[in-house]
């Protein structure tokens, strides 16, 4: 069994972080994981992305030319990764920042006003967690609890107080996609 996802957006939107969070939680679940970022000049402006694979077997290629899922934080990322998602795959879109709908009918698209939801929680910085929650709710690559449990690893020092609100952001994203 393998789950994989590309997470893409502007640098500074917490893209790498939720990818790492996912990988970390997967590792704690005893899974094989890889986290592969875009790097070099790419990371200085424009879009950044990372590819996360969570699997039961040792992972061969960490590349995701056709990911099972893509979480996109901006229009450029949507344009880049929407065509790449495999047939039957999943596209998670921040509908607050992207007013564009996919024309593909062979994938599941989730449009979630993630930035709005994050603002309701107090800060647009939680957008990444809302989107992660939406992805977890739809794809269920690993149990939600494992992701919530891994949060404190990334929020240390002054940020430790933010663990709870980040948890709520993930839950909010998950709740959004779980609505009937």
């Amino acid at each position: 069994m393998e789950h994989n996802v590309v997470i893409a957006g502007f640098g500074g939107q917490g893209i790498m972080l939720i990818g790492e969070l996912l990988a970390r939680a997967g590792m704690e679940q005893g899974k094989e994981v890889t986290w592969l970022p875009s790097y070099g000049p790419e990371q200085r402006g424009g879009t950044a992305h990372c590819a996360v694979v969570i699997a039961d077997e040792p992972i061969a290629s960490p590349l995701l030319p056709e990911p099972q899922a893509a979480i996109v934080f901006n229009r450029q990322s949507l344009d880049k990764f929407e065509p790449a998602v495999e047939k039957g795959g999943l596209l998670v879109v921040d509908a607050t920042l992207i007013d564009h709908k996919s024309e593909r009918s062979d994938i599941t698209c989730v449009y979630i006003p993630a930035t709005d939801i994050a603002l309701q929680l107090g800060n647009s910085k939680f957008t990444n967690m809302v989107l992660l929650g939406a992805y977890l709710g739809k794809a269920n690559p690993i149990p939600l609890e494992s992701v919530l449990a891994a949060l404190p690893v990334f929020l240390t020092g002054k940020k430790a107080t933010l663990v709870e609100v980040n948890r709520r952001a993930i839950q909010a994203g998950l709740d959004f996609v779980s609505k009937p």
Binding site: E20, A23, T34, W35, G40, A60, P62, P65
Partner: protein, 355 residues
């Protein structure tokens, strides 16, 4: 006690080197391996080691040379253009017969190229580079875990043969994160202090001299013959390969490092389609696992070399199998990394559907 930690390749490899007993690191910044010197700069002082940022790669490798003369475990790392600048030093170190480890996170070339993953320094690493008849042992891990494990071997081999051991990776291995376990921690105090090192006489009844200069032709030829004998021994005993799904394979992909890892997915996909494809993955690219490849002469109907370069690895595959197995080649350059499907398509184009 060891447990799995999630680490970036460039940092995990640095930690792997430290666990292998590396206490001295000299380097100069270059992408895509800056996390390695950065990690060394904060970690080495914690274990009683020293990190030095040199003024150039030329200086780095010569600082390594100096430390290597003292018989300590020492390394540098860089990426393609920086490794080119180090070739002089690598030749001198090889000519002097002192041990060190050099890591190359290969990037797209020639020239400044780019920082994306490539394997275009293959021939430089395994055949050439600096002047003179010398060889390095070249290790090519395909995962972070393997890289960490191989670092212990890298330093052991360097010390055993008094040779330069090169670890070749690329930006993909350097930048990705995987769970990694540090299984071995070498006790540096337990390492044997070499009797040839220039550490000051301190009561020794003779002076130690380390030099690659031998003006007398007979002396230099004799030294060359000693080196050749050593290389022959290394070639006979130290080559390694991973043979994946080869037991009943009718075709093989030959690839190393990152490319091999991606090709492994190709093999799985091909197998799911009923194609009996396997993977031959050299772990040492020098010494090249020629004999291990030749074992499949008579079994396989074709071998496709796949690399992030233009017919460099292919030269060695050709030397091993030419005329005995039909050969194919597929490669991408400039930092472009082909996916598993692209490799499968190349295989099918060159060998049919493999059935």
């Amino acid at each position: 006690m060891s447990e799995k930690v999630l680490m970036k390749g460039a940092e995990a490899l640095a930690e792997g080197a430290i666990r292998a007993g590396c206490r001295f690191y000299f380097g100069y910044p270059i992408t895509p391996q800056n996390e390695t010197p950065e990690y060394m700069s904060r970690r080495l002082p914690e274990v009683g080691g020293r990190f030095v940022q040199a003024e150039s790669e030329v200086a780095s490798i010569n600082m390594v040379y100096g430390a290597a003369c003292a018989g300590v475990r020492v390394m540098t790392s860089s990426s393609s253009p920086g490794i080119s600048l180090m070739q002089e030093g690598i030749s001198y170190i090889s000519g002097s017969g002192v041990p060190c480890v050099v890591m190359n996170a290969m990037r797209g070339g020639p020239g400044l190229g780019n920082v994306a993953p490539a394997q275009a320094d293959y021939l430089q690493a395994v055949k050439g580079g600096g002047n003179g008849d010398y060889k390095r042992i070249v290790l090519a891990p395909a995962s972070i875990q393997e890289g960490v494990d191989l670092f212990v071997d890298a330093f052991d081999l360097a010390d055993k043969y008094r040779m330069v051991v090169m670890v070749i990776v690329d930006g993909l291995i350097g930048q990705m994160m995987e769970p990694v376990e540090f299984k071995t921690t070498v006790d540096v105090n337990a390492l044997k202090k070499p009797d040839w090192a220039t550490t000051g006489r301190h009561g020794r009844d003779h002076a130690n001299i380390i030099s690659s200069l031998m003006m007398d032709t007979a002396t230099l030829e004799k030294w060359n013959l000693e080196l050749q004998a050593k290389y022959a021994q290394v070639a006979a005993t130290e080559s390694r390969i991973e043979e994946y799904e080869m037991a009943d394979a009718e075709y093989a992909i030959v690839a190393y490092g990152t490319m091999a890892r991606i090709a492994k997915t190709t093999v799985r996909t091909a197998r799911a389609r009923g194609i009996k494809l396997g993977l031959l993955r050299p772990i040492t690219v020098w010494p090249f696992p020629t004999k291990q490849l030749q074992k499949y002469v008579g079994q396989i109907k074709g071998a496709l070399t796949v690399e992030l370069a233009y017919r460099q690895l292919f030269e060695d595959v050709e030397l091993a199998l030419c005329g005995k197995v039909p050969l194919g080649w597929y490669g991408r350059g400039g930092g472009v990394v082909p996916g598993p499907q692209e490799i499968l398509a190349a295989f099918e184009e060159q060998f049919g559907k493999g059935r």
